[in-house]
Subunit: 463 residues, 2 copies
């Protein structure tokens, strides 16, 4: 029986003649690349651990070892056993250490991180970062400097954690004119929405639990207001459409005002509500927007639950693709940081002109196609109107929409709600420019029989 | 209003100082790379069309144009307007054309394709191919030759059409020890299973329709017997685990014997049946198997329907990821062929030693970890036993399983079927080595009260 588990015959000969058995030995003569890790928090600790644990596996791929030569750390990480690696409390010591080839920036934030990365570049070092805020806000400056110095700045871990979606768009789909990108790119937000739907809990209730569990920050603004997602979407849009990073033009709407009522109505209509980042290329310009979104329940992305992330990319040749995985966490994010290191190890000896451009497109051929203001974006809409139970309300509503060229796809009118005697009227519209919906909502709210604000949630079909 | 659509203020200045406006112009001084396309069938036609239509977009990314210098074609493709590009009826003319840098092999099959690719390599040309059979069966030979000559052989389009999954595993997940890969990697098979489940149709009925619609070949063996999927899985396993290509060791079981009864029972138990390729790394060796598989219905991959493909990859750092998209078709496959061309254009000027290795791992550090025979593979099982309606049958069944160390997860006993008076008994087992299930099935079939063969379908939970 045991002979079954051995290569035999032709295959054995094949092994013997062409491959060395067992462990990595092939390129042991090549010196390892020296890496400095700045920041030993969640991602830094994960990166250190993965580099240690999978050192052999990584070297078998990269053709050389990747050695952590120095770590800048202020607070020791209990999940990380550092023995033998020199540490410093000064991140700038890494950026200037002449021994170090690649600086890994994992301190987060804008200010020190920006200085650190620019200093590392200035010193001719390649940079790997997981810092979406830094790239979204200061990326244009950083990439310009990196080109000047002929170094690489890699940032796969900045978007969607362990999912190699930057690589997928920038290289895997490079044949395409990308039509749109849509993603669930904030795990905390998706966890909250999943709990609201599955357990009927309120936003505030789930948020409090997420904070207690450590999924959400003490200040959850970045997550629940969509700022974190907008950082990531800004990056995705740039590499998809070949435009400079323009975070300040992204439209951002959070999930804090979502009610279980809307979650349930959406469900009844065959939809799920997700906090979606959408970037779409149109003849007029680029839509760049983060907001709660109804998605048909039978779409794969509508079934991405809990803290998981997924990004859909629609290209003119590829059609729709989806990339799914853990969007955050110690080791998933480290997986992308280390993959970037392997990429840099391969590319660092190549002609800078022939490398994959930072933003996917050659820097001298980025497009000036403008980012559209939200009023000029187009989508379908879910509207919830609280109306008094009078005859003729529906006719008034329908006429307001029709006058503005807004076509209704379906209407669901619920029974009178006992506590307030109002009738919730739920409408789904066809696709239309947002300005028209704004006008319509204003007119609807002015109706005598309509009580309180009209709830508006965008709808995307993502075919 | 129109001023909203123009970059203004700081951003305008930014554009003017750093970027040229509008169309690609930056690298027009660099000569285009010259490509020869061999075969102008579905994928060849798609590749030609995408290269023409997206020429500007592609050059903006690649930094140089990609020009089709010659096409080898026997039968004209009505979907493809060739004007001005020289054609030949001799594929070998492409492999020897001194003008051509990259040969695109899209003729399919093993024999001529192998000769063509080897000839192209011999002549120092890089190769891009969509030919899974060629790579799975002759890849080791082809890659060895390519290394000798310092050329690249790229094959993203060989697996899962427009999904850049080769790149994802080989580069995007390079930090990981990959635990397993599982994929729906044959669109025809998935279309048939989807129709069987959604519409209660029989295998034969759906196959006939698929053939009429052109989804399935006149000889559907490769698709429905799992050979096409095994070719692709062989490639995925090599790049995931760093082992030579060993197609002859793959276990392959088709979907031809699946009944709607089993599809429905699976559904009742909360599962979907998919034709899955599974490659798993274990301490004993590598599992490499294609077969119908029950997957819990709430898994994303269980909801991949119709002709779509999806590949899950589980890494020790990344956790489970999933890559989804069109697995075949003119333009999705062309998307991957052209992405490979862009990659080759970038890498062709680099040091061959620093390129991404063909099989993800350095050729001198491939592993001799053996492929396990199917009897040594481990999975959970779905068993359907047709029993006479006698008391004590369940006890006999349970005792046969228990004696072989097979734990039962659940049992579903249906009512007596009217037409034959038999009771279908459906069992789900815990994970166990296949040899034990084989022994158990033999013993079960020998029972007096068991009628006909026991149906066995593997179950994977894919967490």
């Amino acid at each position: 029986m045991s002979s079954k588990f051995q290569p035999h015959g032709a295959m054995r000969q094949f092994f013997h003649s062409r491959f060395r058995f067992g462990c990595f030995s092939g390129s042991s003569s090549v010196k390892p690349v020296k890496v400095g890790i700045c920041g030993l928090g969640t991602v830094g600790g994960g990166t250190f651990n993965v580099l240690q644990r999978n050192a052999e596996e990584i070297a078998r791929r990269a053709g050389r070892g990747i050695e952590v030569a120095q770590i800048a750390v202020r607070t020791p990480n209990p999940n990380c056993q550092i023995t033998g690696t020199p540490t410093t409390s000064d991140v700038f010591a890494i950026a200037t250490n002449p021994e170090i080839d690649i600086v890994v920036e994992l301190i987060g934030g804008y200010t020190v991180a920006r200085e650190l990365v620019l200093k590392a570049i200035e010193n001719g070092k390649h940079v790997v970062t997981a810092n979406k805020a830094l790239i979204a806000v200061h990326g244009n400056e950083i990439f310009a400097k990196a080109r000047e110095k002929g170094v690489i700045v890699a940032f796969e871990a900045a978007v969607a954690g362990g999912i190699p979606v930057i690589k997928a768009i920038r290289e895997g789909l490079s044949a395409n004119r990308i039509n749109w990108v849509a993603g669930i790119i904030n795990g905390t937000g998706n966890f909250i929405l999943t709990e609201m739907r599955e357990k009927g809990r309120t936003f505030a209730d789930v948020l409090a639990e997420a904070q207690a569990l450590g999924y959400a920050e003490a200040d959850p603004t970045f997550d629940v207001e969509g700022i974190d997602a907008a950082h990531k979407l800004t990056i995705l849009a740039s590499i998809a459409f070949g435009i400079p990073l323009q975070f300040d033009k992204a439209y951002t709407e959070g999930i804090t005002k979502l009610t279980t009522a809307d979650v349930n109505y959406a469900e009844a209509l065959g939809y799920r509500i997700k906090h979606l980042g959408v970037a779409r290329s149109t003849a007029q310009g680029i839509e760049l927007r983060v907001h709660p979104t109804l998605i048909p329940a039978d779409r794969l992305i509508a079934n991405v639950n809990g803290v998981m992330n997924a990004v859909m990319v629609n290209g003119d040749a590829s059609g729709s693709t989806l990339f799914y995985g853990a969007g955050a966490g110690m080791e998933p994010t480290a997986s992308s940081v280390v993959a970037d290191l392997v990429d840099v190890v391969r590319a660092m000896t190549s002609d800078p002109e022939n490398r994959v451009p930072h933003l996917a497109f050659q820097p001298d051929s980025l497009s000036a196609h403008p980012i559209l203001p939200i009023e000029a974006c187009e989508s379908a809409y879910y509207l919830r109107i609280q109306a008094k139970d009078h005859p003729g309300v529906l006719a008034q509503v329908a006429s307001i929409l029709s006058e503005r060229g807004i076509n209704i796809e379906s209407i669901m009118q619920k029974d009178v709600e006992e506590h307030d005697g109002l009738v919730p009227m739920i409408l789904l519209t066809h696709r239309v420019v947002e300005q028209r919906i704004n006008d319509a909502i204003q007119a609807l709210e002015a109706l005598q029989d309509v009580v309180g604000p009209v709830v508006r949630i965008r709808v995307e079909h993502l075919n």
